[in-house]
């Protein structure tokens, strides 16, 4: 049976892993390669590296660490950050990334998704979506350039419409990051994730809000996502990945132990 995936996310800024609360006030957590190796050893199923400064500052991620991660770890990993062209994507993949994740540049130019899919196949094209609940209109909307508070802006996209659009254009996986929940550890947004699951035919990764082991159980059982991404609970040692996987296994969730 296909296992549910536990995916630590390492936000990268200037070559270091950082973590902020609701995308602000980033503090340094540690070096990339040792953290990646530790998570792989502890049982992480996959890793995601987001260079959160890349799009906002109009530069591409420093790729030297991509190769160093690929040399040392034996689980899949995805690289995100400012990839706007086929050549930039090819470079990340050639350095050993298994997937590339596109967020802000896909909103600027949605045709990028189809072009990447034509070139590399949909299996390595992940779309990251930063979604927030807009209370005034009681709807879910997409934000762009969230890596830098000053550059962050609203888009015209409702989250459901954008999820449909990126699938039509050929993405292979979606990471839905619910911004209202990010870094506050109050639990995944089950309601929103269930809504998106119903219209998502590609693998769906939940992101934002994990605080307890029960939150992971809930998001797999109730929102039926394929994978759950989290950062601070792992970086701060609040949840041990090995214990989490034992807990989920004991609760009859398909998990690779």
């Amino acid at each position: 049976m296909l296992a549910k995936r536990i995916v630590p996310c390492l936000d990268v800024r200037d070559g270091k892993v950082v973590k902020g609360v609701q995308f602000r006030n980033h503090e340094i957590v540690g070096d990339i390669v040792p953290l990646a190796a530790r998570y792989a050893e502890e049982g992480a199923d996959e890793l995601v590296f987001y260079d959160i400064t890349a799009s906002a500052h109009d530069r591409v991620i420093d790729k030297s660490w991509v190769s160093r991660v690929a040399e040392q770890i034996d689980i899949p990993f995805c690289v995100a950050g400012g990839i706007k062209t086929i050549e930039q994507a090819r470079e990340k993949l050639a350095f050993g990334a298994d997937k590339i994740s596109i967020n802000s540049p896909a909103l600027t130019d949605p045709s990028l998704i189809s072009r990447l899919q034509d070139e590399f196949g949909r299996q390595c094209i992940v779309i990251g979506i930063d979604s927030y609940y807009d209370e005034s209109t009681d709807s879910y909307k997409v934000k762009q350039f969230t890596g830098d508070e000053a550059a962050t802006k609203d888009t015209q996209w409702y989250t459901q419409d954008w999820v449909e659009e990126v699938q039509k254009r050929g993405c292979g996986e979606i990471v839905l990051n619910v911004m209202n929940q990010d870094g506050v550890r109050g639990g995944y947004d089950i309601k929103q994730l269930s809504l998106i699951r119903a219209i998502c035919d590609v693998p769906l990764i939940a992101s934002g809000g994990a605080g307890t082991m029960e939150h992971f159980k809930d998001v797999f059982e109730l929102a039926k996502v394929d994978a759950a991404l989290a950062a601070s609970v792992f970086h701060k040692g609040i949840i041990d990945i090995g214990e989490l996987k034992q807990y989920l296994h004991a609760n009859n969730i398909a998990i690779r132990l």
């Binding site: 049976m1 690929a70 034996d74 390595c124 769906l204």
Partner: protein, 214 residues
């Protein structure tokens, strides 16, 4: 020539340079096992290797075009040492693939080394691609020596080889399909051993243990 140098010159693992994306990941995985490994599209280097890896990511049409451009098709077919395809590399060992990748309407002619046809994975409504860690049931091929049924390995694909007499290992996602196929010295795995943690490393080590005694 000493015994030592004979064995080392005969122990080269060559990854065929198909120009595809997962070349370095496959190389790194063998290097973690301290294997003597090179990436090459050179006729003589490939032919004299102890064992050969055919990697592949992308679409069958693009990958076969790359082999054609590099004049590697007849060479690969003529190899007598162990040859292992990985992911799309496994699919390229088959006869045909219906993964067109927008290049043509016709099925793609593959290497024809394992007589089976690649078609769509029928996930019965589960999300596609089939992406993530899934369990395999293995036969008695030396590639799976020491690997228990139910072991998890990492898959990413939307096409598959059906279960057939050439199935060496199977998995299930909606339908049962071949997680590995093989015939004679040609075999391949649908999953990514280079990304499958300790189980994957064991499978790659098993591969390194082949082709050493001729």
């Amino acid at each position: 020539m000493t015994q030592q140098s004979v064995s080392s010159s005969n122990d080269l693992t060559v990854i065929i340079d198909t120009g595809c994306a997962n070349l370095s990941s496959v190389r790194f995985a063998f290097e973690r096992l301290n294997a003597n490994v090179v990436v090459s599209a050179d006729f003589d280097v490939i032919r004299s290797a102890a064992r050969v890896v055919l990697p592949g990511v992308g679409t069958a049409g693009a990958a076969m075009d790359a082999l054609k451009q590099k004049n590697l098709i007849e060479l690969i077919k003529s190899l007598t040492q162990p040859v292992m395809g990985v992911c799309l590399g496994m699919q390229m060992l088959a006869s045909l693939s219906n993964e067109h990748g927008g290049r043509s309407e016709q099925d793609i002619t593959c290497l024809g080394l394992v007589p089976t046809d690649i078609g769509d994975l029928d996930s019965k409504g589960l999300p596609l691609p089939h992406m993530g860690w899934n369990q395999i049931d293995v036969g008695d091929h030396p590639l799976f020596s020491g690997i228990e049924n139910g072991s998890y390995v990492y898959f990413v694909h939307s096409y598959r080889a059906p279960i057939s007499e050439y199935t060496l290992a199977s998995s299930t996602y909606g339908e049962s399909f071949s997680a590995a196929i093989g015939k004679h010295n040609f075999f391949g795995v649908q999953f990514h051993p280079e990304k499958s943690a300790k189980i994957g490393a064991q499978i790659l080590q098993n591969f390194l243990n082949m082709g050493t005694s001729q």
